[in-house]
């Protein structure tokens, strides 16, 4: 069965610093991988997704993620964060018709 582990529950970082949010998944078959963002008091928005092909995928707001099959990872990165990136980030995996989410990583960007 598919599952997701987000290795950091909280990541504090200063503005303009780089950030990496880690995600590992478990599955016995090929998967789709996703990152969603949830800003305070809002619903979840799709940041980016990996379906197949190039292992480096670019999303909205300057975020990118790299699929590593051997490491079963899909880490999210941004080279320079802004205050407005403060939010909860969820990694998700899908083997077929439904999607399972990690527990989330709270990114806090400090001035």
């Amino acid at each position: 069965a598919q599952s997701v582990t987000q290795l950091d529950s909280q990541v504090p970082v200063f503005e303009e610093a780089p950030v990496e949010l880690r995600c590992n998944y478990s599955s016995s078959v090929s998967v789709y991988l996703f990152w969603y963002v949830q800003y305070p008091n809002q619903g979840l928005q799709l940041l980016l997704k990996y379906l197949s092909g190039s292992t480096l995928v670019k999303g909205i707001n300057g975020f990118e993620a790299e699929f590593n099959k051997s490491q079963t990872s899909f880490h999210l990165r941004k080279p320079s964060v802004h205050i407005s990136d403060t939010a909860e980030y969820f990694c998700a995996v899908s083997e077929s018709v439904d999607m399972r989410f990690g527990a989330g990583t709270r990114l806090t960007v400090k001035p």
């Binding site: 789709y32 619903g43 979840l44 969820f90 018709v97 399972r100 989410f101 527990a103």
Partner: protein
Amino acid sequence: GAGVSQSPSNKVTEKGKDVELRCDPISGHTALYWYRQSLGQGLEFLIYFQGNSAPDKSGLPSDRFSAERTGGSVSTLTIQRTQQEDSAVYLCASSTGTAHGYTFGSGTRLTVV
């Protein structure tokens, strides 16, 4: 509609009462999903619909939870005899297929007192 609509946005209910949560998906989205988000927790999968059918009900926490979808559109999640541990944000999402990702509603915040 333009987005996934959930109602009510907030619900406070007394322990033991029944509640109904509604989800109106994006028009044309055949798949509909319910998740539960508890404080400090991730998203817990509850159930999904393909059309009006629910192939996987394994995520429903107990037999107090049920869901239906009619006309391939609106879905209702019903919780009977609510308990305090049912307090959470209930999120609905719809999709044309997993590869396209999900569009989420803003959720219903349920508080059982």
